[in-house]
Symmetry: C2
């Protein structure tokens, strides 16, 4: 049993005990559960009603409403979970157009929980920090999906497609610099650079809607780019707590980048999740897009 007062040990690969997975939508929660079981750890999944996929039933599980923090905590304790993971999408499928049902790790919807909201407003980082602290105060260790399932994390180097040329590489550098400065302001994790300038910045709308916007700016002629060009850059915010709010890309991101006419996608290695890498790679190669893992700064 890992003591909550000893976070260093809690992340140790030798940690044991049941892992509690608080599951939003999409396939990531199941992938994380499989990885944990694969490393010999028992798993309990608390599926968020309206979000989690019914396939979580392949594991010991129960269902909780998003607002039911008390019940969630009781369930996790009953199943002996000292370490927990938040993973999956919380974008409400019934409110979204089909093309927006992103696999984005969006626990921002947790702001609906009154106990969190009461503590005031703020950017995602501040809000999510409060959620982590709330569970930590209850004695849980909050782990990141990437700590349990390292295969889900973007590696450094070329992940799909052909290495980008000098022009795109310079757009990637501009995108990284801009995304990091935006991250310092606790804004988004993504920018799109095309024709040598930042043409879109992600804030509350998320990556999919940002890609859609660039597609429609091109269609309307307001954004003039030659052929397949420009790049989506996605990096964590400086100081972002990857345990609960890790940026992610997936097949849908590839589709969005293709429709926006981009040349490819660059993400920070170790800082961005890829739910299903083989599917992402084959979608990227079908679309003729590169996907590149950038080394972390320093």
């Amino acid at each position: 049993m890992v003591s909550p007062a000893d976070p260093a040990r809690a992340r140790d690969a030798s940690a044991s005990g049941t892992v509690g997975i608080i599951a939003g939508g999409g396939h990531l929660p199941l992938k994380v559960a499989e990885a944990a079981r694969g490393s010999g750890r028992p798993v309990f999944i608390a599926g968020l009603e309206g979000w989690a996929d019914p396939t979580i039933a392949a594991f010991p599980h129960d269902w909780v409403g998003v607002g039911s923090i008390g019940r969630l905590i009781r369930l996790l304790r009953q199943h002996g979970c000292r370490e927990i993971v938040f993973v999956g999408s919380l974008v409400r499928p019934d409110l979204m157009r089909p093309d927006l049902r992103s696999l984005k790790l969006d626990f921002g919807a947790i702001r609906r929980m009154p106990s969190i909201l009461k503590r005031g407003a703020g950017g995602d980082n501040r809000l999510l920090g409060r959620i982590v602290r709330l569970f930590e105060r209850e004695g849980f260790q909050v782990l990141g999906a990437h700590e349990l399932a390292r295969d889900l994390v973007a590696p450094a180097g070329l992940i799909a497609g052909s290495a980008p040329g000098a022009k795109v590489r310079s757009e990637i550098r501009m995108g990284v610099e801009t995304a990091r400065r935006l991250g310092e302001l606790d804004i988004g994790q993504g920018v799109i650079v095309a024709a040598g300038r930042v043409v879109a910045v992600e804030a509350a709308e998320g990556t999919d809607l940002m890609l859609e916007r660039v597609a429609s700016l091109r269609t309307s002629g307001r954004l003039r780019m030659r052929g397949r060009s420009g790049v989506l850059v996605k990096v964590p915010k400086p100081g972002q707590d990857l345990r609960i709010d890790m940026p992610a890309i997936g097949e849908r991101t590839i589709e969005g980048a293709e429709t926006a006419g981009l040349a490819g996608i660059a993400v920070e290695a170790g800082g961005v999740l890829i739910a299903d890498r083989p599917a992402l790679v084959s979608a990227a190669e079908r679309a003729g897009l590169f996907v590149l893992g950038l080394p972390k700064p320093q």
Copy 2:
């Protein structure tokens, strides 16, 4: 006659000679022409085909294609213009949905001109700086619309509606800080702050589309704001050349802010144009929005 080698004199109110107005769409070019004539200066309008309003015919005028820089320069010289002003929208009306026919001063479309494009890509500031330098090399003084028509510039203080409360004032401060930092990156001039965080950042899409995005994030439930709240902040980029790329707001901005459910709009006094202030004020007051002119930094 003012020497092009003496820019300080060129801006002097006592400057004389015909003012050349290169007119895009909307009512601003006519307003500027009227203001110049009101101060006793002759005016010649070069109307950009497809953009300028036929009402420019109230002044000595001619028509030029957007790509015809050579003809434009000849016309300006024939009419004795040493001082010129770029003013009006260059968003193509035939490519835009009716709700996007903004009065934005968008000379970005000038990037279609091959002689400009050839010099490489870059943010708006760099591109527009090249346009100014091109005309300066030809011996013209480029003035700002705001220098000829001071009544068109946002004043400091409350312009419409009731003074915002403490919560909105703190959102305004966050918006100004963020917009200025974004401006340093040569990105947009506008941000929307709501529920204590930056929910939208303007890049290539412009203010109207950004407002539309926030409206649809609210409708879809992805952005939860109580009642009428949040603010649009618009300030020039640090170092932005207001002579050719001055931010503007108008009745359409009010409509967009109303649809997005915002409490109001804050702009930098002296740094943002208002084409028709009486119309903007009455639209804002009908919609229950404030419009505030913020003092310039320092």
